[in-house]
């Protein structure tokens, strides 16, 4: 009777790593230039954005490295960034940052034709025709390098303002929206505390801010299509650089320590009679959903804003749809968790399967002893 070798795992792992590296470098010789991090960070800027946001770490170069190393797999790249982050202590907590100070590259409102500061379309694919631009297939470096400088040279002379007022402020001043809360609870840090349901809105927002874009889009879309009823209007969607203000180590005064590219979305939902928390005679007001994430990722910010609004409803009235159920939404949108678990099924499960076979065989023996044959055997006869 034969048996199998019990050695070989280590050699197999090393071989797999070599094969993976070989594929990264393979291809026609003329095209085999290693990707530069600079090219990834800038030419694949939306991918870099997505990885920083899902990885929960604002570090464009490390995100670019993760993309290169993982050969373009977004889930793996976000995961690598997240694991790197695990080695870093939390040094301090920032005070709440004012996104009104963002240096914008784009801001739009679908609620009003004109908004204070004006609509600014900025860099977007929204109204671009999705026709293949074959000229990009063979791009020569010279015009490519000049593109950005030509664009800036042709930019209008008059300086744009540093920041723009928020659309919501106008609605607040008209009392169509509830005023900002006077008191803030301390932010829930999902990297330091586990989610124990019921969770605060802060914990929900933090979980969504680093969630996997596609997962969140799928659940938000279910709400948009009819498994939910929030009917959002985008009050404002803004993309830009947020100055990060930290207390000065000596004076304690808030000082700009750097900037992060981020996307923020505020959606307004229709008022509902029970939406006002105060007495029933209070005047109805619109309600808000909020989404924000690192980088330029509008799909994610919009999905998050819609889910925030849906979850607030679920937290208050009890969920009527999957997208209103905090546990259902928050436990299933993390890319690192879901992708890891889906892939773990590839690992050896010899022992548990042996156990499964034992149960099935034992159950079948009992069937046969009773003279009942399991169905598939009846089909064969």
């Amino acid at each position: 009777m034969g048996y199998v070798a019990i050695k070989g795992g280590e050699k197999a792992i090393d071989g797999a790593a070599d094969a993976l590296e070989a594929l990264r470098a393979s291809g026609p010789v003329s095209g085999s230039e290693p990707l530069s991090l600079n090219a990834i960070e800038h030419q694949l800027r939306l991918l870099t954005s997505r990885i920083m946001s899902e990885g929960g770490l604002y570090h464009p170069q490390l995100a670019a490295l993760a993309i290169k190393q993982m050969q373009g797999d977004t889930l793996e790249a976000g995961f690598a960034l997240r694991a790197y982050r695990s080695t870093k202590p939390r040094l301090l907590e920032t005070p709440p940052q004012d996104t009104g100070n963002m240096r914008l590259i784009r801001r739009i409102s679908s609620a009003f034709k004109d908004i204070p500061g004006g609509q600014m379309l900025g860099p977007t694919h929204d109204y671009a025709l999705r026709l293949m631009r074959f000229e990009l297939a063979e791009e020569s470096p010279e015009p490519f390098r000049k593109m950005a400088s030509t664009f800036l040279k042709n930019a209008p002379e008059e300086a744009l303002p540093d920041s723009f007022p928020k659309v919501l402020d106008a609605l607040r001043s008209e009392r169509l929206l509830p005023p900002k809360a006077e008191q803030r609870n301390p932010a829930f840090d999902i990297t330091r505390d586990p989610l124990i349901f019921p969770v605060s809105r802060s914990a929900a927002l933090a979980t969504m801010a680093r969630a996997e874009t596609g997962s969140m889009l799928a659940i938000a879309y279910s709400n948009m299509r009819g498994y939910g009823d929030i009917h959002p209007t985008v009050a404002e969607l803004r993309v830009g650089y947020l100055p990060v203000m930290l207390p000065h180590p000596v004076t304690g005064e808030l000082t700009e320590a750097g900037e992060v590219l981020m996307t923020e979305c505020e959606v307004i939902a229709m008022y509902e009679p029970e939406d006002t928390e105060s007495a029933k005679d209070a005047a109805p007001e619109f309600t808000l959903g909020y989404g924000a994430c690192f980088g330029h990722n509008e799909t994610k910010a919009i999905s998050m804003a819609i889910l925030d609004r849906a979850l607030q409803k679920g937290m208050r009235d009890g969920p009527e749809n999957p997208s209103e159920d905090p546990e259902f939404v928050l436990m299933h949108i993390d890319g690192v968790d879901s992708m890891g678990f889906a892939n773990h099924y590839k690992m050896p499960h010899y022992v548990t399967f042996q156990s499964d076979m034992d149960r099935l065989r034992s159950t079948r023996e009992k069937y046969q002893a009773r003279g009942e044959t399991p169905q598939e055997e009846t089909h064969e006869s």
Binding site: V4, I6, S86, P198, Y345, P348, M357, S362
Partner: protein
């Protein structure tokens, strides 16, 4: 970003045990709490590790937060030290915990990280067994909501789990739970003992070694402290049954490699279409083989 910023050149910046010290301290505190409340799923802020969720990140966080330079670590997966995932985790521990020695011997190890098995050789009081846990909650098969399950655990309400076992008996005349068998700890909390076979469940009872369970993705740690009762959930008139390794003639199958008849066996499908059985615990198998060979030499 600062244009003068440069990425570090090498990976020499990782600290001992990979995790930052705050994370390790938190996990140690949670372990103490878990030991104090046997079987209670203690929540913790599980960190992302550089291997997939589901690949043992929970067990690894336990190991890395408690390991010191004097420890001897053994890592097994499916009972084997050389299974791909065991190799990977052991290599990672060697990379991030210099000075720690690793071993394949159950008796030499002070710390054992395992997936899906309890070693065949009984453990001692000065050993710790860290289980990798995919599903920490045995109630998940009857209740999907974690918030509701938490209440059920608090009230010791396992009625729906018992009903499931009863329904199995009605439908199949057998309890169909093959592994991850619900086990009551110290007379109160019922745990998911991780996907160990039923064969290993009795080993949890009155164990001399501390048994720790880490679920990284689900962010829970629980413990079966030494000398604590661990009883599989059964009915008085339906005994708990472990995996059956008897052939049609009622003969206990032997390991094709070492010949022993007292270990959990892997079933192998050979090239010629026949079947063979072999110890799942490779250290145990090697030990049996070595003592048989030594015996043959003396003869």
């Amino acid at each position: 970003m600062n244009p003068n910023y440069r990425l570090p050149n090498s990976q020499d910046s990782y600290g001992f045990g990979f995790l930052d010290e705050f994370a390790k301290r938190e996990i140690r505190r949670v372990i103490l709490k878990a030991i104090s409340i046997p079987g209670y799923q203690t929540p913790y802020a599980s960190r992302e590790m550089p291997m997939g969720r589901g690949f043992g990140t929970g067990g690894l966080q336990l190991t890395l937060s408690m390991i010191g330079p004097d420890d001897t670590l053994k890592v097994i997966d499916q009972g084997s030290d050389d299974s791909v995932n065991a190799v990977n985790l052991r290599k990672f521990a060697e990379l991030t915990c210099p000075e720690v020695s690793t071993t394949e011997s159950t008796t030499e190890a002070s710390l054992i990280q395992t997936r899906h098995r309890v070693p065949e050789i009984p453990l001692r009081e000065n050993q710790v067994l860290n289980f990798q846990v995919p599903y920490p909650d045995p109630l998940v098969i009857v209740e999907p909501s974690e918030a509701k399950r938490k209440i059920m655990h608090g009230e010791g309400d396992y009625a729906r789990l018992l009903t499931k076992l009863y329904e199995d008996l009605v439908k199949f005349d057998e309890i169909t739970i093959s592994h991850r068998y619900p086990t009551r700890i110290n007379g109160h909390y019922v745990i998911d003992p991780s996907p160990i076979p039923r064969y290993d469940v009795p080993r949890l009872n009155q164990s001399k070694a501390l048994l720790l369970f880490g679920a990284g993705r689900e962010k829970k740690i629980y413990a079966v402290p030494p000398y604590t009762n661990a009883d599989p959930l059964v009915f008085d008139d339906v005994p708990f049954r472990t995996e059956n390794f008897y052939d049609a003639d009622g003969q206990r199958r032997a390991c094709a490699r070492c010949g022993c008849t007292d270990s959990f066996l892997d079933e192998l499908n050979l090239e010629d279409g026949s079947k063979a059985w072999q110890c799942s615990d490779t250290d145990y198998c090697n030990r049996q083989l070595a003592s048989t060979e030594a015996g043959e030499v003396t003869q």
